[in-house]
Symmetry: C2
Subunit: 313 residues, 2 copies
Amino acid sequence: MKIALDAMGGDFAPDCTVKGAELASRELPDDIKIVLVGKEDIIQSKLKEYNITSPSIEIFNADDVIDMGEHPTKALSQKPTASIPVGYGLLKSGAVKAFCSAGNTGAMHVGAMFTIKAIEGIIRPGIAGFIPKESGDFGVIIDVGANADCKPDVLYQFGEMGALYAKHVFNIENPKVGLMNLGEEEQKGTLLTQAAYQLFKISNKFNFVGNIEGRDLFNDKADVVVCDGFTGNVILKMAESFFDLLQKRNIIDPYFDRFNYEAIGGSPILGINGNVVIGHGVSSAEAIKNMILLSVKMAESNIHLKIKQHLGE
Amino acid sequence: MKIALDAMGGDFAPDCTVKGAELASRELPDDIKIVLVGKEDIIQSKLKEYNITSPSIEIFNADDVIDMGEHPTKALSQKPTASIPVGYGLLKSGAVKAFCSAGNTGAMHVGAMFTIKAIEGIIRPGIAGFIPKESGDFGVIIDVGANADCKPDVLYQFGEMGALYAKHVFNIENPKVGLMNLGEEEQKGTLLTQAAYQLFKISNKFNFVGNIEGRDLFNDKADVVVCDGFTGNVILKMAESFFDLLQKRNIIDPYFDRFNYEAIGGSPILGINGNVVIGHGVSSAEAIKNMILLSVKMAESNIHLKIKQHLGE
């Protein structure tokens, strides 16, 4: 099985990407190959610089690079030979089973919609983040930024996809799905959450446990937290800032270490015809390693096919 | 000057309220009186039990109590002699300069709208929470739950009121007002935040500094964070849960101690014809003390008149 990594994506690429690929190759079986997508000469020189000779690492040339600040749609149409579109080409052709990048998030998202496309029946794909639970597990939060404004049926599909992701990738049996809200009672919240509640409560597609509040994110009330991408993005960035505040104060605690984005390394786009993981722009080699490992887990579980199959049921 | 406290409001009332009043009386000048509103016989026996004889503490009898779980509108119409409506009566008549309660939040909010009412021109009053800043100050966040769904002009007024509150109660000169969003760029966000941005950026009523993200809540980018009540409620409860997680792990740090709701003690309703502060249901005596001190600061600055005046400008 091959996994493609955008070697040029991320604030510290290509150093962090080649090093991250090497770290991942040590933890993966020999039959899993990591394909570094990017400028071959630069990648070769970096591999040499860091003495990386792993037979699990391959290179696939891409002449161009989409920078972090570029406009996604414009960049994708003007730079067809950049590492992001080339990576998606490999994924679409079946040459690789997953594609991951810590590069331009917008370009990764738009690129997915243009190439492998949304699964038929999925109104809006969503990005799934993770939540470190007090119990020691990780929970899932969807959406964390792909869709700022959502309709109730979009939230419902996030519930379906989030539950499948939690089950097949995080191995949580019958995951509890909670709706992010400002109170526990059914009638609480915005027009959106009130309407979504009515859809969720009659669902036989996932295990809905009711509304959850901001204080419940880290406890065991829900394994999967459903919210619009605006709310999810605020939550994700606020959790990150907590971690940074603790670091600045030299507070070391094994639980809070799991707030570190590096622990998971990336957020998958769910609801598209392929396994795609988006990493943090500031990704370190450790984060890249974990993003690759997550991509492998997604490819092994074939989560995108599980979602497709589920829609047909 | 007199400040009314709902002696019956809060999970631990009346014990926490009489004790909190006594703690506040020690820090306040003699000419500020605290009026305990509630069942006189119960309050008297509690004052006796705790040996409280402060001449700064008075009692105003209210025969009934609105419980924490009661439906606000129904309870207010069925229990006109409960401590919340009686407290509002004192505020409306001018007998007291502020009214605060850790009781039924909905009844406090609806009670304000029924008695002292919204300031003419204010579309929706908002509840202002606080944010502990890394710099050592406190920032303001509005709204934290009164209005789940907001229109752009409602957010604009939150910006105006939040800036006045930060200036006159927290003594922040020319406070920086930020719009909560999922990215820094003008075109980012929901339809709501995009439209609000256009109103904010042409404002000459407050110092708009642009969009801020979840990671900026605790830094110095903005003194006043404007958001809809849904987002603000999630942020507030998430920050609380973060404090609880630290407590559980016995992590003591002076900065994070300021995440404790007790540090400020309550959240004012801004945009109404009077000074009203709502406390946390679980308020301790320390929290009640700080809620009273905040109420005094609001009364001294006459923040509700400042807001009224500002609208006429």
